[in-house]
């Protein structure tokens, strides 16, 4: 077998039939956009409902004798409070390395699936799943079981009309609060549905058997408020929402505190530690950090891309852009990056070096577009 060959998700043929432009992403052949284009897809998601396939992401479970045992095993690897998760509830966290850098970011759910009660259901980034799965499995104490779900598909339905569209298939999904999940029958397909996403909008992430994915996808697209959205708009939507992309805004060298993710670390975990990388996290919580992730708004119309040097007004390098592009809802260029802490407050004037020219810009608060999660 050709090891460089791109892998295909359960909906590959469906995307091609819809006229998607397919590109390689994390080893998969994925739709970057459909014929309407990124700008229209982005705006549609903010105004109506967008349907994304994200089956390339890694889904797995950690199963043990009881929830406390499983939660404690996971708490050894992540700084979030896992023990207090109620059945169905999910939380965002990060896998850290021993230096306190981020190996990946992930979603962790206290499963309430029948037969899997008390286990954790975990979703990780496509580009990191090889590492993450091995890392989690290697670090489990005896008696716990790691199970990866390579046959599952994952899709996301996002936007202000997502609830209405999904409720047509099963009205019970309306009762799901943000960051909660459960099992639902959707048009005859058994689905694990969570109220979460990566766009800043209300919405759902839906996991189904790969063989059922096309049926549910096509059923959702029958709704006039729902359109397919590619990875291009997924990226501009999450950037406007101020959400990190692994490998860009966070990586093995950045800590959760530098990345301004301390909101995801509960008091108990800050005080007690007891997770890989805790030393750096605790030190930085007390003593501060030398650089911080910030939002950046260029003054002009030219986008500043990932890797762009950030300077202070005197021309000294103070940081680098880690995600940058055009925000269709903002209707202008937007970016995120790391700057020295002295320059991290909103309103600080900075310069971006684009094609050798210094472009004026400002540090701004994130997100660029207010979140509209259903709390």
């Amino acid at each position: 077998m050709d090891e460089t060959a791109l892998r295909r998700t359960p909906l590959y043929e469906t995307h091609v039939a819809l006229g998607a432009k397919m590109v390689p992403f994390a080893g998969y052949d994925m739709p970057v956009q459909y014929p309407t284009g990124i700008m229209a897809e982005h705006k549609w998601t903010r105004e109506s409902a967008g349907l994304f396939e994200v089956s390339h992401m890694g889904q797995c479970s950690i199963i043990g004798p009881d929830f406390e045992t499983v939660a404690k095993a996971m708490e050894a690897l992540v700084p979030a409070d896992i023990l207090s998760l109620k059945p169905g509830q999910q939380r965002y966290s990060q896998l850290l390395n021993i230096q306190g850098g981020i190996s990946d970011d992930l979603m962790i759910t206290h499963s309430n699936w029948k037969g899997l009660e008390g286990s954790l259901y975990v979703v990780v980034n496509a580009s990191r799943k090889g590492f993450d799965f091995a890392h989690i499995e290697e670090n489990l104490p005896p008696g716990l079981v790691f199970r990866r779900y390579d046959s599952l598909a994952l899709m996301a339905l996002q936007g202000p009309k997502a609830e209405e569209a999904l409720a047509k298939l099963n009205p019970a999904v309306k009762a799901l609060p943000f960051m909660n999940s459960g099992r639902f029958d959707l048009a005859g397909v058994e689905a694990h549905v969570s109220r979460s996403g990566y766009t800043g909008e209300d919405g759902f992430e839906i996991s189904v058997e790969g063989g059922n994915a096309a049926r549910l996808w096509n059923r959702l697209l029958e709704d006039a408020t729902v359109k397919p959205i590619g990875l291009g708009a997924r990226d501009s939507l999450r950037l406007e929402a101020g959400l990190c992309l692994y490998g860009h805004d966070i990586d093995r060298t950045t800590s959760p505190i530098e990345a301004q993710l301390q909101w995801s670390i509960a008091k108990r975990r800050r005080a007690d530690g007891g997770f890989v990388g805790a030393h750096r996290v605790q030190r930085e919580l007390l003593g501060g950090v030398s650089r911080k992730r910030v939002g950046i708004k260029p003054d002009g119309r030219a986008p500043a891309r990932d890797g762009t040097e950030i300077q202070d007004e005197s021309g000294r390098k103070i940081g680098v852009i880690t995600s940058g592009g055009f925000g269709p809802t903002v209707n202008g260029p937007i970016a995120m990056g790391y700057v020295e802490t002295a320059y991290a407050s909103a309103g600080t004037p900075i310069q971006l070096i684009v094609r050798g020219q210094a472009m004026p810009a400002q540090v701004v608060n994130l997100p660029f577009v207010p979140n509209r999660f259903k709390r």
Partner: protein, 119 residues
């Protein structure tokens, strides 16, 4: 109208070449959100990167297909970069170059050859 392998088009009148990107190129780029144009008076060489087109997703270089001096750039693109998507081979032109070597035009393709080139 003639076309380059880098997907620029050229029309010539009175020794001045008007240059833009082809309809095929704009389709590949997607929604254009910014165009960085050269300064008027800049002397450019054929195949040199002289402009940048930014789409939502990425920045792409624009290569000038002929040598000469930039005598005008399309100011309308600053206010409405989507002209490049809507009218790539007319109102969405990029720049005018006073030709210094008209022989370079012979290296360019006519419409039929370009259409065949992009398949």
């Amino acid at each position: 109208m003639k076309f380059s392998k880098d997907h620029e088009w050229v029309t010539v009148a009175g020794g001045i070449a008007t240059i833009g990107i082809s309809n095929h190129a704009q389709g590949q780029l997607g929604d254009v959100v910014f165009v960085d144009l050269p300064k008027v008076g800049r002397v450019v060489k054929a195949h040199e990167s002289v402009a940048v087109v930014e789409s939502v997703k990425a920045a792409s270089d624009v290569y000038v297909p002929v040598s000469g001096e930039v005598v005008e750039v399309n100011g309308d693109l600053a206010g409405d970069p989507s002209l490049v998507n809507r009218a790539p081979e007319s109102e969405g032109w990029f720049m005018k170059v006073k030709l210094s070597n008209e022989a370079e035009l012979s290296e360019l393709m006519d419409k039929a050859a370009y259409d065949k080139f992009v398949g």
